[in-house]
């Protein structure tokens, strides 16, 4: 699977669709995905593993009298494809009709994507990846002898996606990515810091693993000698990782159309209303150049696009797939996703792509300088236990630092942040210029006022 033959994949897709239709189905769709993942792993201060994982397969949706069935396999030969197609049709017959079933989409023209495939990454050698990991590790451990590299990886991915359906849609796209990350702790006397993570991920071969190693080490050292703080309401600067955790489990859920339609979102009925500070403009850009989640089409074959979510704090739009779009009588925004390492095993759900908060013009240092009494948070523990409907959270800030009179004063031991995401967004007072990509989020540092911190 080093280079993928799109004709062969489309062949299996068409075969699956034909088989389902010949069984008597009303509609059929085949989705194929393949991921080749190569990784070098750091464990307990040294490189110990080099792994290659190949996952490819086919998922088939069959529709019979508005009832949908799904079946998947990773065995890609004609016999298995026919068997899996028959199974999908059987599942459809066993299922129940859905009056809102929208039908599969017809062929559409796709926009161009930039910086999503690099053939150097498709053929990178184990030795080269080992060197990337080794540089990261060296940089971290030579920084300070109290630093210990607990775990880390350097990895590349080559992936493809194919959608074929009975409405004549045929789509193929491929992409690459590379990333490295390092988790460190610093130890001194009886103290161990929390894990401090740094990372760098890109779609093309342009990452700086030495920087990652050094930053992870610096963070760990600066997390030593943590102190408890008194409870109170503080100005809080949220780092990118912290924002990912918080937004992923709260705000992003509340702009998904299925959550809105099922009355599970605090943003239901609020299009055109102000729900955040004037400073906040957010869009979801499925075609962003070099975007970590950029593809030409979504996992139903709908063209990816740029969707405005908040414009100066005013709610503009929700995120849609075909099913929810039909219900609201609009077009899908191209946000159908089949997630994980084996996308072919799943049916689509709604997910953000490159969910982008427009940056401001302040450097991280000047953001800190303007805070008299506040907290800088790099990460959260427990954000997954937030209330996805109301946006309420109660999480541990770690690692986090106290800011006093414009300077980082000391690291904070296990304080909790409590509030709702909507209060945070309403109280945003400044934005950094340091935009970064992490998973579905593209964001600078965000500074917000009056955030409840429970210390001791």
């Amino acid at each position: 699977m080093v280079e993928l033959k799109s004709e062969e994949l489309v062949h299996f897709g068409k075969k699956a669709v034909d088989t389902v239709m010949r069984k008597g189905a009303d509609e059929a769709e085949a989705f194929l995905s393949g991921i080749l993942n190569t990784s070098v792993n750091i464990e307990r201060g040294q490189i110990t593993k080099n792994m290659r994982k190949i996952g490819q397969g086919l998922g088939i949706r069959a529709v019979y009298k508005k009832a949908v069935g799904f079946s998947y396999t990773n065995i890609l030969d004609d016999n298995s494809v026919i068997k899996t197609a028959a199974q999908a049709f059987q599942s459809a017959k066993a299922s129940k009709a859905d009056k809102d079933w929208p039908g599969f989409p017809t062929p559409k023209k796709y926009g161009a994507t930039k910086g999503t495939y690099d053939k150097r990454l498709a053929t990178i050698s184990s030795n080269e990846l080992v060197n990337i990991a080794s540089n990261m590790l060296k940089e971290a451990t030579s920084h300070d002898k109290r630093v210990f590299a607990a775990f880390g990886t350097a990895e590349t991915q080559l992936a493809y996606r194919v959608v074929v359906n009975s409405c004549g849609l045929e789509a193929f796209d491929k992409g690459t990515s590379i990333g490295c990350s390092l988790g460190t702790v610093a130890r001194q006397a009886n103290e161990v810091t929390p894990i401090c993570m740094e990372f760098n991920a890109e779609r093309v071969y342009k990452i700086d693993s030495s920087w990652v190693g050094k930053e992870a080490a610096k963070q760990a050292v600066s997390a030593l000698k943590a102190k408890k703080i008194d409870s109170g309401d503080f100005t809080v600067i949220f780092g990118q990782m912290a924002l990912l955790e918080l937004l992923y489990y709260t705000f992003i859920n509340s702009v998904k159309a299925d959550q809105v339609q099922r009355e599970q979102s605090a943003l239901k009925g609020k299009i055109g209303q102000k729900v955040a500070s004037d400073l906040i403009t957010i869009y979801d850009d499925g075609l962003m150049a070099n975007g970590l989640q950029t593809w030409k089409f979504d996992d139903e074959g709908i063209p990816r696009r740029k969707t405005p979510i908040l414009e100066k704090g005013v709610l503009q739009h929700y995120l849609y797939d075909c099913y929810t779009a039909k219900k609201d009588k609009i077009e899908s925004t191209g946000n159908a996703l089949r997630g994980g390492q084996n996308p072919y095993k799943s049916t689509p759900i709604i997910q953000a792509t490159n969910f982008t908060i427009n940056p401001g013009n302040k450097s991280p240092d000047s953001l800190i300088e303007e805070v008299d009494n506040g907290v800088l948070v790099y990460g959260f523990q427990g954000a997954h236990s937030s209330n996805p409907s109301t946006g309420e959270f109660s999480v541990v800030a770690t690692p986090a630092w106290k800011i006093e009179r414009g300077k980082i004063a000391y690291p904070i031991k296990a304080a909790m942040l409590v509030g709702t995401i909507f209060d945070v967004l309403n109280n945003v007072s400044a934005l950094g210029n340091n935009i970064r990509k992490i998973e579905q989020i593209v964001t600078p540092w965000v500074c917000a006022e009056n955030i409840r911190v429970v210390g001791k």
């Binding site: 110990t48 792994m51 799904f70 702790v185 161990v192 084996n342 236990s385 999480v395 031991k413 429970v454």
Partner: protein, 460 residues
């Protein structure tokens, strides 16, 4: 199958590997989703795959692929050896493995009602019946999502010690999630059931019982108050003490994480908890969600004592960490499926019971919280933990009081274990799907446990 595995293992050893292991797997899987009385998806999956792992010059090489074909596997073993050699160039402390006795075994599963023999229609009926019971419970129930999954796997394992194991595995799980709404209050509740037995599990835990339970919890939350933020005494219920034993303590006692610098580094043999505390990680409990017979390195599963009367007795090991500690592997090496390498995972982790009645646990508390059920938990290597809670009550003058919502609590694991001052005589084991880069079915539980103080994150 056995011949194919032997040929691939021999190929690895022939290329100079110090250790070679091959795992093959056949997987069948049914997944159903019902959302708000609508059948959202009916999925069936059929997959084959294999993984080879080799140790060369003290470094690991690993390759997984979606086929059982011998030639592809032989190529993969050569690739794995090449990768291990590339990694070994930087190894300072070569990886070595503790001995494990050679095993030859066949483990079969014979459920009363094999999920493969139960029709999809019947499974859908189960979900729709539960859904109906959820919505019939109260008009304030607004949504209901139910996910059902059954997985039947057959694993074939061989390594260069000539251990050969064929092992069937069966997992059944049902995840229900429901929300209720009144004015601007929106509450939710979830419920996870998991079994390694057959479909007969739903004869006792019926869809009617499950549906009413999940709905009731969401509706009861509507009258819940916001908690006060700060430090308070608490009684922690069996479900929550289970997730505490697993998340806050268990992960720190996984030897790979202990070696990565967790707060338990250098604590073996030392007091880390109140003497009332005894914690096991037990893979031998019949029918429990985290039980199995042999781990994915071919090591027989066991009951491992982690803490005995407050003292750390053992960590959880694979063959690699057992060698580092000069001890025996504990049967904790697990891989999610053929795509993944085995890593150290928990099985069923629980605190043992004590002798306090429910009333005795409460009577000395003037004001505190009874924390009954969780949403999720997470811990860090430094011992900082957070547990999000979906069901909790105030304790006022020794009595159970008003329900509170959106509470979460946190603290330091070892400080909290030292503050345990009374343990109830009840016991309950519940189930979970643990994520550590891979998913693993686990059990967790214990009795009601009283802690002198934890940090409560107040309501928003």
């Amino acid at each position: 199958m056995r011949d194919d595995l032997a040929k691939v293992v021999d190929a690895g050893q022939g290329l100079g590997a110090e250790y070679t292991e091959v795992r093959m797997q056949k997987l069948f899987n049914t997944t159903l989703t019902v959302k708000d009385s609508r059948v959202e998806s009916v999925k069936e999956g059929n997959e084959n795959g294999a993984a080879v792992r080799v140790l060369v010059n003290g470094a690991w090489g690993f390759a997984s692929l979606g086929t059982l074909e011998r030639q592809s596997l032989t190529n993969a073993v050569a690739e794995a050896c090449k990768m291990a050699k590339a990694a070994s160039l930087h190894v300072k402390t070569p990886v070595k493995l503790a001995d494990s006795k050679t095993v030859e075994a066949k483990v079969t599963v014979k459920p009363k009602k094999d999920p493969k023999e139960v029709s999809v229609e019947k499974k859908i009926d189960l979900l729709l019946t539960e859904d109906k019971n959820v919505f019939d419970y109260d008009t304030r129930v607004k949504s209901c999502t139910i996910n059902y999954m059954d997985i039947a796997a057959t694993d074939y394992f061989m390594n260069s010690d000539r251990t050969y194991i064929e092992q069937d595995k069966l997992y059944l799980y049902l995840l229900s999630y429901t929300t209720a709404k009144e004015a601007d209050k929106l509450t939710f509740s979830h419920d996870l059931l998991g079994y390694t037995s057959g479909f007969e599990a739903f004869d006792t835990e019926t869809p009617e019982v499950i549906g009413r339970r999940v709905a009731k919890r969401a509706v009861d939350q509507l009258k819940a108050e916001k908690p006060k933020g700060g430090t308070f005494p608490a009684v922690i219920g069996p479900k929550v003490i289970g997730i505490f034993a697993h998340e806050a303590f268990g992960h720190l006692a996984e030897a790979d994480l202990t070696l990565s610098g967790s707060v338990l580094t250098d604590k073996l043999g030392k007091r880390v908890a109140s003497e009332k505390v005894t914690i096991y990680d037990d893979g031998t409990l019949e029918g429990a969600f985290g039980s199995f017979r042999y781990d994915d390195e071919g090591v027989p599963v066991q009951k491992t004592t982690l803490i005995k009367n407050g003292e750390i007795v053992s960590l959880m090991h694979n063959r690699e960490t057992a060698h580092k500690f000069g001890t025996k592997p504990t049967g904790n090496a697990r891989a999610e499926d053929f795509r993944y390498e085995p890593i150290i995972r928990m099985r069923n982790t629980y605190l043992t019971r004590g002798d306090y009645s429910f009333k005795e646990l409460f009577e000395d508390i003037k004001f505190g919280y009874y924390i009954k059920d969780y949403r999720g938990g997470q811990a860090n290597l430094d011992g900082t933990f957070q547990v999000g809670v979906q069901e909790a009550y105030e304790i006022v003058n020794g009595e159970l009081g008003t329900p509170v919502r959106n509470l979460s609590f946190s603290g330091n694991t070892l400080e909290t274990l030292h503050k345990v001052d009374a343990i109830g005589k009840n016991f309950e084991l519940s189930v979970g799907i643990c994520g550590k880069g891979q998913r693993a079915p686990v059990g967790a539980g214990g009795p009601d446990v009283r802690v002198q103080e934890v940090l409560i994150g107040g309501g928003a």
